[in-house]
């Protein structure tokens, strides 16, 4: 009996946790309480063991994940080696609760994952996928438009960050080139 109560309590706690995570996420931040309840009925909760893959690089993807509990490593295959047997996975970043990843798949027609995601500890994820977004747009376009607007904002921000990174890299390359020229003229 106690086990049953503990289970119900845990479930309620998890549900509350999930609604607060959703409310804090940039995609759903503009939504009212009733709109968030509608989203809660649509999203998917998935549990992963430490070391389990959420998705692999080059796989077709259909949506994004928000971390409710645990940590996720984003890895890419380091393919600078000529021999494929030497290929190894490199951790690019480690994501914490509240972080999200894979959102590009929500808007791409055919989306291939550019990196792998693997749970680095026992993890609970909130999954939000393209069919879910399309259903929201069909059943309540008001909510759908709010979510898409926020999504566009996120993608725009990512694009800006990437552009800034590229210009930074270009600067570094130019600097390295100049240093190389100075070194060769000195020698």
């Amino acid at each position: 009996m106690q086990y049953l109560w503990e289970n119900i309590f845990k479930r309620l706690e998890r549900e509350q946790n999930i609604s607060s995570i959703l409310a804090q996420n940039i995609l759903f931040r503009n939504l009212s309480k009733s709109e968030l309840r509608f989203i809660e009925k649509i999203i998917h909760i998935r549990k992963y063991r430490a070391g389990e893959y959420i998705f692999r690089q080059n796989e077709n993807g259909v949506g994004m994940y928000i971390i409710a509990k645990g940590r996720v490593d984003i890895t890419i295959i380091d393919d600078i080696f000529i021999d494929p047997s030497e290929e190894k996975e490199v951790v690019v970043t480690r994501l914490e609760p509240g972080d999200f990843f894979g959102e590009l798949a929500l808007v791409e027609d055919v989306s291939r994952r550019s990196a792998s995601a693997v749970a680095s500890s026992d993890t609970i994820l909130i999954g939000f996928f393209k069919p879910d977004l399309l259903e929201i747009l069909e059943r309540d376009p008001g909510i759908g438009v709010k979510v898409i607007f926020r999504l566009a904002e996120v993608l725009g921000r990512r694009l800006k960050e990437t552009t800034e990174k590229i210009s930074q890299l270009k600067k570094e390359i130019r600097l390295l080139g100049e240093l190389h020229e100075v070194n060769t003229s000195d020698s």
Partner: protein, 353 residues
């Protein structure tokens, strides 16, 4: 065993448990559908109702109606309409049936005469191929089928009524709870197949919805052409014949022929001239041409991505396994299987590539 190996083993075991549980659910579902009489037809009809009503329900929900109310509205409207049609057409149908009953001896007599005139020729022709008495065979078939029909009729009526009443009941819950049921079932899918399954279910839903709605438009178009055509040619029971033509049109290839046969037979026995008979045939042909020009290339071919040879083969398999019902459902089932295989194949290739 290293901790890493142990973890991998636990992940594999959990995936396997999920897969087995899902498999058990699917097998129980299939056994119920195929084992309980009338259940498969009820479910198929429920799917048809669900896909027909879904755009209306979603549109009502978009305008702020609560989901359950949005489902009840089209059910109530269609229910009232059916009741109205039943009340309006019942006197006409009763009259037609009484008329048909009175005319039946005339029809059977003319059919009998026709049979008498031609049976000798047919028997002579068939005797060349062996000992084959058409008259005896036909009499025996008529006797057994009529006695079977009489003994099976009460069972058939009660089964049909149950099937027809269960279909809207199932459809109501499919529209209201379909999403949460699918979500619960997806919980059982192992993590490495989850996104794939979710996307597959979405694609199947889109394809089936489009296919069912297109087939219904096809049937309506055929009925809408046949009814005024036969009515203008003064063929009795034109509305009934149009409904038959629309419904039989759901059977691929041979459906239109089956649908045209009663119209031509009634025209023939009611003494229509050969010109009128040709015109009756023309009405059915026009309906089919319109269907072939507009619906099939514009709607169905785009929804069902199957080669014509594959279509013929799956229809033959469908008819062998489940008869007329098999012929009707063979194309959507084949396209779902094709979609499932291609999605899983691409996933495996993705992982390996």
């Amino acid at each position: 065993m290293t901790p890493e190996e142990f973890r991998k083993r636990v992940i594999k075991r959990e995936s396997l448990i999920r897969l087995i549980t899902l498999g058990i659910f699917v097998v129980i579902g299939l056994l119920t559908l195929l084992g309980v009489p009338g259940m498969l037809v009820s479910f198929l009809l429920a799917f048809v109702i669900t896909y027909m009503f879904k755009p209306v329900v979603n549109a009502l929900e978009r305008n702020g109606t609560n989901r359950t109310a949005a489902i009840l509205i089209p059910f109530s409207v269609v229910g009232v309409l059916l009741w109205g049609v039943y009340k309006l057409l019942l006197p006409g149908i009763t009259e037609s049936l009484v008329e048909l009953q009175a005319e039946l001896p005339k029809y059977s007599a003319s059919l009998g005469e026709l049979f008498e005139t031609h049976s000798k020729t047919v028997n002579e022709l068939l005797s060349k191929f062996g000992n084959f008495d058409v008259t005896a065979r036909l009499t025996e078939w008529a006797k057994t089928s009529s006695s079977n029909f009489l003994t099976e009729l009460p069972n058939f009526i009660s089964l049909s009524l149950t099937t027809l009443l269960l279909a809207p009941f199932f459809a109501f819950f499919m529209l209201r709870d379909g999403r949460s049921i699918t979500k619960e079932l997806l919980q059982l899918v192992p993590n490495n197949f989850f996104e794939l399954s979710l996307n597959l279910i979405y694609q199947i839903n889109q394809q089936l919805g489009g296919f069912i709605r297109a087939r219904l438009v096809e049937s309506l178009l055929v009925g809408a052409v046949v009814w005024p055509g036969l009515y203008l040619l003064d063929v009795p029971y034109s509305l009934f014949l149009a409904i038959v033509a629309g419904l039989t049109n759901l059977i691929p290839y041979i459906g239109p022929v089956i649908g045209a046969a009663p119209g031509l037979a009634i025209g023939f026995v009611s003494g229509a001239t050969s010109t009128v008979l040709m015109l009756i045939a023309l009405v059915y042909v026009v309906a089919q041409i319109l269907d072939m020009i507009f619906i099939i290339p514009l709607v169905i071919a785009k929804i069902v991505d199957l080669h014509p040879v594959t279509v013929v083969v799956v229809i033959i398999i469908g008819s062998q396994v489940m008869g007329v019902l098999g012929m009707i459902i063979s194309i959507p089932v084949a396209s779902i299987l094709k979609l499932t295989f291609s999605v899983f194949y691409n996933h495996v290739v993705d992982i390996r590539g």
